[in-house]
Symmetry: C2
Subunit: 310 residues, 2 copies
């Protein structure tokens, strides 16, 4: 049983109440707490030493990453983060300087994105450092972007460049909050997700939530320099295109938009975010097949996004 099968089993028949707009299964939970024009977003995410970061990773970057992952999920729903709680699982022999540096990394990102840190908790986790972030944010009522809205014919877009994140980006990425809100405000975005498990895997989350398929164009997939370098140097056995399709932790936005909006979107994006690439990588189909067009071939897309439980 892998992570996704376990989650599917656990999230059957969960207790609910009148506040729940979106429960388990999207980037954030969405709650209606009675605000006239806003829904509340609610999310948690944890990073664990030796799993999500190396024991010698700079602690400022670990703190940054822990908060940035949660913010990336808020971005994926076109939301705005409000406040965070920090849970630290700490080995008993306390390295105070390490914990303070971790907090410094979180504080800096929180300040830049306007997020309040309103407390949290420390507990003992004897063998390894664990950082879990809980976040509340908001989105205009009816304005949050779900995974489930993609329609046949929609164009599929991705921000930035993909693959090879482990070489450094996974500790330094900036969550795409401003970009996601701008997209939702100006274009008919039909579905969105942030890329945490890898393009091939996360695309499938969108397609299966939407009941559609897709055809991707191999030559359009934006491949990072890090993925090319890792293959060239022998640090990775994955050909760069495969790395871009299946490496995890890109934390870029993957979204679908009505095809008539594709060209105006690309033009407007270039003016609004000249530093960040945006690529149309394919189109939504009636499905359910997911294929990759590579020169003359049309091949099934390998489905093995990065799955946390092997």
């Amino acid at each position: 049983m892998n992570e996704f099968e376990l989650i599917a089993r656990l999230t059957r028949a969960l207790p609910t109440n009148d506040s729940v707009v979106v429960g388990a299964g999207d980037d954030c939970a969405v709650l209606d707490l009675g605000l006239p024009d806003r829904w509340v977003l609610f999310k948690t995410d944890a990073v664990v030493e030796g799993i999500h970061f190396a024991p010698d990773a700079p602690p400022e970057k670990v703190g940054h990453k822990a908060l940035a992952r949660c913010l990336s999920d808020v971005a994926a729903m076109a939301g705005t983060p409000t406040a965070a709680l920090v849970t630290l699982g700490l080995p008993p022999k306390l390295d105070v300087a390490r914990v303070e540096a971790l907090y410094a990394g979180m504080r800096e990102l929180a300040r830049r994105q306007g997020v309040a840190i309103v407390g949290g908790e420390t507990t003992t986790n004897p063998e390894r450092l664990l950082v879990s972030i809980a976040l509340v944010g908001w989105v205009g009522k009816g304005k949050c972007l779900r995974r489930s809205g993609a329609k046949p014919g929609d164009a599929i877009f991705v921000t930035g460049e993909l693959g090879g994140s482990l070489a450094g980006k996974h500790l330094e990425f900036e969550p795409r909050l401003a970009e996601a809100r701008w997209l939702a405000e100006h274009f008919p975005v039909s579905a969105m997700i942030d890329l945490s498990d890898g393009l091939a895997g996360d695309l499938r989350h969108v397609l299966s939530a939407s009941g559609v398929g897709a055809e991707l164009l191999a030559s359009a997939i934006p491949i990072s320099h890090a993925a090319k370098r890792a293959f060239r140097d022998g640090a990775s056995q994955k050909p760069p295109l495969l790395a871009a399709l299946t490496d995890g932790e890109d934390f870029e936005l993957l979204f679908t938009v009505a095809s008539r909006a594709a060209v105006p979107l690309l033009d407007a994006w270039k003016k609004q975010f000249p530093q960040l690439a945006l690529k149309c990588i394919g189109k939504v189909t009636a499905g359910p097949a997911v294929t990759l067009r590579d020169k003359e071939d049309l091949r099934p897309l390998p489905a093995h996004g990065y799955v946390h439980f092997a």
Copy 2:
């Protein structure tokens, strides 16, 4: 450096914003998200195998405890819980039955208290099971009970019986949500906290937040049968009164109330909650001393509440 010193250091100069009513340092964070008549409560709490529960503890009870601890913090502010997210740190060799039983324990408590479980996350924590709960709830604007409101002359009350929780209660306690809301609605409660670190330690959190002291009456402290039995059987070296003062994880309510309300409160309580003891255990003083009156003696109260980092 112990847990409280570390937290004090980390919570200096945290980023804030307009939403923050109460940040780090009380039972829950309190946020003003724009609701006309309500504040939002926000809390996280984690339990770790081998620290908060034994490896052979029944998993249903572990799930119950993980959620109940968070609900107890909402109770301590006289709030109502709305929705929870569940973060599971799991060893790679997955025991599906154990995880499902854990969820069953959480679901049952959530249903009984009207709490929606709206998702969460699974991650790898190789050596031990970890369950972290994030919770949002609400309280009427200006109606939440803080730690900081105790005034000299106030009577100090505690619900239930204290000490010896490790014999079983720590896995089975029911958070005092209804009791706390009833108290806040009907009586001039000036400060409240839930007992997680032990009476002596948690009382000090209230007194130091309020800038006052206290005099407790030893003969009035409600001592649990479990604490008496553990001492009699040799399972614990702590005399029962010391256990009631310093054992952790009672999850009862400790609160202060204007002294004129003490007798009417005791009368009304007996009718409203006949199954649950309520004891007046002393009074708030101008401070800063915290003393225990024991027959003719007036002794300083041992300050060593249970501190998680030794």
